[in-house]
Subunit: 343 residues, 2 copies
DNA sequence: TATTATTTAGTAACCGGTTACATTAATGAT
DNA sequence: ATCATTAATGTAACCGGTTACTAAATAATA
């Protein structure tokens, strides 16, 4: 159906090697010939078949992007960052949404490998997996550059862009401490996920450095979902000796917390101070000034893509050291961390 | 590097045609031979090169998904819907984010064509374009099935899944009327976009059917952005003879409206009733019960994919009639449409 | 002008599968 | 046992590009 290189060659009265040289603007083609060929190409509306190209060059212009959930704004932003840079380099994106399912992820990886893509940017479905031999072996034997984004893979050492969750959480809690809070509770995420552990660790660290002792009953374990933020906040409010501040470990739990507080008619920060991990764009719309720890999501995607491009470059001088970047999360003070003295 | 079919053939002591037959579980291969070949394939860890496959079959397993902005939750949901069904059919997704830029979109389409993808699901960058010859000609000469999603392309007639914006808006405004509102203002979106026009049209229709006359000063023209929702609401509140209800034409403007109302200390619906187009998930978290017109976003993606699959099937009996589905938007009453009599 | 160096263009093999057609093996009928 | 069918496998061309190698054309040098 579509025009092929041989048809163009015939019409232009040259060999297809010459056509190929022209479209790859390579080698040495006599200007006159080149012009003539270009004219014919335009006339015939010829565009090279990328599949054939990929086969003969044994290299595609495609990268794989594997995310656990495209509806998660974090990964949406990451993809945007990747996409913009990929575009500049004429790379196409084969997208896989694994639905937080490691099995699906494995299939996606196999598929991508079979499509001979040039590299993969991946947010693994779970960093919870204890040693998973098959999974690791698939990943390591892919023979394609891999860059992790946002989530790590245990027992492995791939390139990656991460966030310093300890630092971020610590900064948030420190802000509370500096405002005079001494009774600070934390609503933690699942501790079998790395970010969950690290953010709780950041809380511990800040408390220790602030010279505050940690109260067991101020540490509540949630699961990163809104409901758990809601329920744990309710629980917290039942405690005899209420905390004066809460630190929540992700956006959804922050929202749950806000919901619980607002239902009980408690004002932030007058009745309860609050600092949450993750930025929540819509909060400001409601004039809710909540201090948050923001991750540079878009930037992470861009950096991941940059790292992949680097890998492509140094592909010849094989096996260079892995490069892992840990970005700082940024504390954005909006006032909800204040300690309000009520008389 | 990777194992090829000929290597497998050699090792198995058969011709590569036989290997091909086995991996395509086609034709007639003697069970004994088949088992033997499968064993060798496993031993060698062979997986067919999809690029080579695509070239020789002259058909890929890939579809293109082109969206104007992946960070727009609407398209995020659509992609999710597409992705799940594509997955079931072993189709891969080549993703293009056009950034609402028609030029980029044209490039994406060309790229996809060159990659010999099987079909395209696209939310065009703009349905604002007056007759754009080049754009239309690219789209129509693609020679690949196209399904539009969410947005239409003027002067064309492709398959597509749309929302009945007139009906949706009309339902929303009617709900206000039925609650006794007579002074209803509308914050419209850009009228050079189809949804913008249609939603305003829905308002007009509902007003007419409700026997209410439309007041010019109650029609405000925004641009679908939060700021315009905010500013236009402020403007509305300045009017001598204030409306008792506002209908906002998309999620962002609804948020802007809420922001303005809450800043002025106005309660919904006590001081001002409000119905908005588009669902806003986070509203409920803040215990804001706002009546909205919801689009079945995820479903739209799924249906778009179904339509594409249908096209693939009837590819042989060419040129069957185009199929356009218009889904109803659903009014979700949450109470903000009520008419509250104050004494 | 003859000879050599340098451009420019062509030939044909190759990338790794698929598949029409040819060939051989197995089965059945006479 | 012989021939006709059918089943199973092999051969080789093809998909549409790229590119190493070769050949022809042109320019440079003696």
């Amino acid at each position: 159906m579509a025009v092929t290189i041989r048809q163009v060659a015939k019409r232009a009265g040259v060999s297809c090697a010459t056509i190929s040289r022209v479209i790859n603007n390579s080698d040495t083609v006599k200007p006159k010939t080149r012009d003539h060929v270009i004219k014919i190409i335009k006339e015939m509306g010829y565009a090279p078949n990328e599949v054939a190209r990929s086969l003969s060059k044994n290299e595609t212009k495609t990268i794989g992007v594997v995310v656990p959930d495209i509806n998660n704004p974090f990964f949406g932003d990451v993809i945007k960052g990747v996409s913009m840079l990929a575009d500049e380099h004429n790379l196409n994106i084969l997208l896989c949404d694994t639905n937080e399912d490691t099995e699906k992820e494995k299939n996606s990886l196999r598929m991508l490998k079979d499509h001979r893509i040039r590299g993969i940017i991946i947010g693994p479905a779970s960093d919870n997996n204890e040693f998973n031999g098959e999974y690791l072996s698939i990943l390591e034997n892919l023979g394609i550059p891999i860059v992790l984004v946002g989530r790590d893979v245990k027992y492995s050492n791939f390139d990656g862009v991460f966030i310093d969750n300890v630092q971020g959480a610590s900064d948030g809690v420190t802000a509370l401490i500096q405002n005079g809070h001494k009774k600070i509770a934390v609503i933690a995420g699942s501790t079998d996920s790395k970010p969950g552990r690290d953010r709780l660790g950041g809380y511990m660290k800040a408390m220790a450095m602030g010279g505050l002792t940690v109260r067991e009953d101020y540490i509540l374990h949630g699961n990163f979902k809104l409901e758990s933020g809601y329920e744990l906040t309710c629980q917290l409010l039942e405690i005899e000796d209420r905390p004066t501040a809460i630190f929540t470990c992700n956006n959804m739990m922050t929202l749950g917390c806000i919901k619980a507080l607002s239902e009980q008619g408690l004002k932030i920060p007058e009745d309860m101070a609050l600092v949450g991990f993750d930025e929540i764009e819509l909060l400001e719309i409601f004039n809710m000034q909540i201090t948050v720890i923001a991750r540079p999501t878009f930037e992470m995607g861009r950096i991941a893509m940059e790292m992949l491009l680097e890998r492509f470059d140094k592909r010849e001088n094989q096996g260079s050291a892995t490069k892992r970047i840990t970005l700082n999360a940024e504390l954005k003070c909006k006032g909800s961390e204040r300690f309000v003295h009520r008389d």
